[in-house]
Symmetry: D2
Subunit: 419 residues, 4 copies
């Protein structure tokens, strides 16, 4: 379905050739300052046409809040938002090769199999425009997370095709084993990432090689994929719901729901399957004293946990629940399906093969534009988990304290609120 | 929460030291033959104590259906099931090192942070016993999928630590590019996989090396992880719900919700980010005529799709929707957190460091036992997606046919039920 | 939350002074003809300003479909819809009595208690404008129900204040015991109901008296409530989900969610608690042969049930599941809270009492305008239940037939698909 | 489906002739003392066989907690519970009149229409035994509500057949207009209600007449219905979710989901449709100072609202949100369908009519046993609404305070957290 989240519940609509794309967010906390200015920047980062190596269309994608705020403050009621489509007219079809052939590895064929009706855009909701609503919703979640808990979410491009920012080495087979990587995720900011537009890989040398790769691909009328790495800092401990809504499970669903995403790994990820427990385990250490951040939560008396981990192969999550350390994960996007190069493929009607050449200019590499989408989906996951846990904590806080008692049969006392 | 699925909705309960673990399944189709005999085999495959290299406890894990069937036939009402715990008594604590120290990379600490109360087992619902209910529910889903559509789900161990069944080579950097792998997933059966118990890697040579790796790890009081690969064959086209419940997104959530899982990739996966679109795209070809399977659906007139793909980098899914080709994916499990080796770590109370040595014997490698769990979760995902799509198709089937009409403004006719 | 339904899932947004009110409907069957013309008529019936006895504002309430259709046919993707608010500017406050006093029996006070923030309209989402989205969504559900199964939903005003269309008599203490009532619900149409605009009570004499009552109330700057009776004809048997989503339970939730609704009764309702089982029970009779309706379902082979009931005290529902007989129910709306008459009441700030006189002209009786809202909510309930049941039936249809078998222990054969 | 609630989510299973009936509750707050002793009393009140006028079977209905607690304290993980059925063996059929005829107004026929399979008990989950799980879950909710907020829920029988505790009079046409009724709901306790077992109508004279009515009905092999009135005291203001999950809407769904329930009215209810706004509106008054109750919430600083209402026609709810005044409502139950009296009715197979005489002894009036079921469902509704509102409040509490600012265009300051 088109709904994500339980407490902070985002429902989206819209495809390529309709009047608008948009969403309704139910569950936004009341009393938060919010205007379109909080949302537009991420939409602009997602927008096509940001450079010579992205698709040259220059859509505006201006968001309009429909409801749920007054005088720039959230009411706690659903926020409706929409972004108008410039080209609203569904396209006629029947007279181009794209009408005869489902695009290989695109959603044209599967949408027809699913719905029994062919939208003029082919892939219907698989359109990249669908992600506009995600980014808009994510921006609101993110504002809350920052105001209340100082949470920071930063994603960046970590590879384009075969060009990696942290290529495997004998010493550091995976990024999570690489101190340079671990340092980076402690400090990287969006400002830094955007200094490397259009590629958004925060490394001078790798960024250059990636740009070159994309140019070659573009000139070849082809496409290329890559990976995005994302870090979430200052997350509270205790977020994530056993058993099926573990933090990493919800992040995985969120990421794999982004068009063209083919894989997800948390913390040490696939590399973590190769090392022994004695090396992979993250020992606990006493958390250093740090001055509290100036957040709504710290004013409210929320404290950071007493312990932290010495290493972070877990990626900030243990047993599906956050431990307060940075959450980091990596997602992979395949090369875009729509390419200018000629492809031999079967016709819709099953009556034979032919050659498809997609017209127009296409994005040779969508990965840099995926950065704000990954951030948005991460924000939605954390927001929902935070609200669920806040509900639990509040439900516990209003219970009377347990009577000090000996458990039955002379057993030791039960360890509530501590050991 | 502890519920998975929307139409075939599984809700589970139970931790290590309670009376039983179990589940309720709402939405089971009525009129299907079902007894405990359909469920027990997968529970037995999941069970500890299957060999010298797994944990030597020999629990029985006998499932009891509580409701929802009569005379061995489903009524369509909720099926309650339970498996009794042998050791029901919550453990006293306070007198062993495991009570003073949260186990590194285990859920002991995060459960305490989340719930503010320490269960005697430490990690509460992060216990492997929680997966019993998943396997039981998955077995029912699987029976339906097989009876109705001939769907087959087979998982196997594809690596243990650094030992891979399909190691990357210059020619075949990833398994999905390897013809031997693609052949295997077309034919592999559970019977074949179980010939390679205890490792469940269906390759004589790799299996031996994996067994040796596990023995070394065991003798070292350590633990090791690995990967499981799973294939789902004979899936209908059209399954998977845009935008947030894409087939791969739900599989990713399902897999990352399994304890110790750290990553998921569908089809070409992480390797798919490295090759260009012209190579990665799966061209369509006309599907070969095959005799229909003897299934409930084929009796009912359901047909296989007209087209299929020549290659299968997509892993059977395009735009989040199945295309009828085999779905295959790979998941990684980290090494188990509980090890006998001494570990330096902080105390619960934050008052200093110490040495933790877990007593008892632990599973040096849980990956072979994860095989039926992966199959079960895959079955739950496919079952739910199938039921949603069946609902959609039936809702469309009872609509009157569209009037043949010219679209407004002289545009071509709309392509309903075909092009 | 602002979402209703599971399969046909409606999510709404909007309050009085925002840009627009609207909704997203997820789960609309693909391949159905649909344009704004299918939706506007019910919005127009709901609209204020239809006569001298309703509020004289003349808003237009024009619906705009944003997504989910192309060339007038549904795609199966979410339908976004909106209706612009004419007066978008949130109102300043602080200088009228309505800013000092929460209106008695209105939502001003409880919204402030709930959200901690005062919207300029006072009661936020309790505004009657919120019901626009319900009516728009209901119209789409209704179109499907009619096309596929010939289902008809008709509501009418059955009382205004103390004036009843079917007042209790010694012989017929409740309408459900009154043959005139039972005849009416078999035949009443919307066209007939609208002949009695502005009151929408399909009885010449009662309608006149109701109109007079409303005029008196209006002239007295007061308000009055009443009841709406609704019938749903041609519903399939088998709809409604045990245990918590029984058909009558979902209707009750739907109706009590309409602003100002204070009660609901199905079939014999409160009167049914007074008669004995031997009189209240509806005996089964063999259903008469009737020519099949020209619906999508009848083309598809769906048959009417073999049995029907002789009487219908059950209101078409037994055990929470429809039996194919007409569903009928009655709902009561209280008098509107906002009245011109002076009221002594406390100030928001708790500092004392004062006199509140609401300015402007208000609807003296909202009951006639509630008619399309009741119909819309009924349509949403039936639509959702129909889709769930269609899913179940389809899931059963693709199972192989049960083996003819003797139940264990020599018991008789199990009665699948018959007795 | 068989799930109720969003935060405090109860999923039930079980029918008459299966091994057990039970439920899983997800979302129980951690750190609350809980044992079977907290649950059993309400199960015992629900049990058949409490007197000569209820069904003489004497089942034990002993609840067993399966999970989610240790040493008598909740862990925050799902609580599994079950009650074993004494007679587990599904009944053979084919040789009694009850196998040939669907019972009039029972669920036998509709279950068969819905599921296409006939359970041995006929009506499957419509069995009264299904309510056991509701009562067990409700008892846990209730314990929390009492401990945390001092909430009290008391239901009682207000009519049996035509015998009413508060019959309509010229002066007091409805109970809500009757001062004796309003006094009663302020003070009535379960202890008082149970002094009037077996009828549970807390009025000496009415109770006697009701008992006599039931005896007559019993001797006549017939059945009779009645009404239950329920009050919920000490509810916080702010509970209930616009728009579709208004407090009264959820109560209505909850009540109409109880077997045999045919109607629901909140506050003034159907009577409220007959009086004018100026009389029906509940003016606000400053709430009197009262010493805080000794609850978890009052320790936590939660305050009672500043205002209350002078009258309470609203039944404690305005705009779907509680205002802190007592919530009271009335529900009606029809006479039980299974009666010993002979009934002419059609056969399952549609081949003609015949006479059905139900064997065994049946409950002539289920209304007294419905009392704890009504209380349980009320507790589930309030619990869920409380947890949602606690989540919202906590989400707002951790936001930084709004900057004092002038709204745009010289408008007055926005009224956050007050007027």
């Amino acid at each position: 379905m088109s709904t994500f989240g339980t407490h902070f519940r985002v429902t989206t609509y819209g495809e390529s050739h309709c009047r608008s794309v948009g969403c309704i967010i139910d569950g936004v906390p009341p009393g938060m300052e919010l205007t379109e200015d909080d949302i537009q920047p991420q939409l602009t980062r997602r927008r096509p046409g940001q450079s010579a190596i992205t698709t040259p269309r220059n859509e505006q994608d201006i968001v309009e809040i429909q409801s749920g705020t007054e005088f720039g403050v959230t009411l706690g009621t659903p926020i409706g938002m929409l972004v108008r489509n410039k080209d609203q007219r569904p396209k006629d079809y029947g007279n181009s090769t794209m009408d005869l052939f489902p695009r290989p590895s695109h959603a044209d064929w599967t949408y027809l199999e699913k719905y029994g009706i062919k939208a003029s855009s082919g892939g219907g909701r698989s359109s990249a425009r669908e992600t506009i609503a995600r980014v808009a919703a994510g921006a609101i979640a993110e504002k809350y997370l920052t105001l209340s808990h100082g949470i920071e979410i930063v994603a960046f491009v970590s590879s384009v095709g075969p060009v990696h920012m942290f290529p495997p080495t004998a010493l550091h087979p995976t990024p999570s084993a690489n101190p340079a990587f671990l340092d980076l995720i402690e400090t990287i900011t969006r400002e830094t990432v955007d200094k490397f537009v259009p590629v958004r890989c925060p490394n001078e040398e790798a960024s250059k090689r990636m740009e070159k790769e994309i140019e070659e691909v573009r000139d070849d009328h082809d496409s290329i994929g890559g990976t995005v790495t994302c870090v979430i800092r200052n997350v509270l401990s205790g977020l994530g719901e056993p058993c099926f809504e573990k933090m990493e499970a919800m992040l995985a669903q969120a990421m794999l729901s982004i068009p063209a995403c083919k894989g997800f790994e948390i913390g040490s990820g696939f590399g973590g399957g190769e090392v022994r427990g004695s090396k992979h385990n993250d020992p606990f250490v006493v958390a250093p004293e740090v001055p509290p951040m100036e957040t709504g939560a710290s004013r409210n008396g929320t404290k950071r946990p007493k312990l932290t981990t010495k290493t972070n192969n877990s990626g900030g999550i243990q047993g599906g629940i956050t431990n307060g350390a940075p959450i980091y994960f990596r997602v992979v996007f395949k090369s875009a399906a729509t390419i200018g190069k000629a492809q031999e493929t079967a016709m819709y009607n099953g009556e034979g093969m032919g050659t498809l050449e997609a017209k127009g200019r296409h994005d040779p590499c969508v990965v840099p534009r995926a950065v704000p989408i990954v951030e948005a989906m991460a924000a939605l996951v954390v927001m929902d988990a935070l609200m669920i846990q806040q509900a639990r904590e509040q439900s516990r806080r209003v219970l009377p304290p347990l009577k000090k008692k000996d458990p039955p049969n002379g057993e030791k006392s039960v360890g509530v609120n501590g050991v």
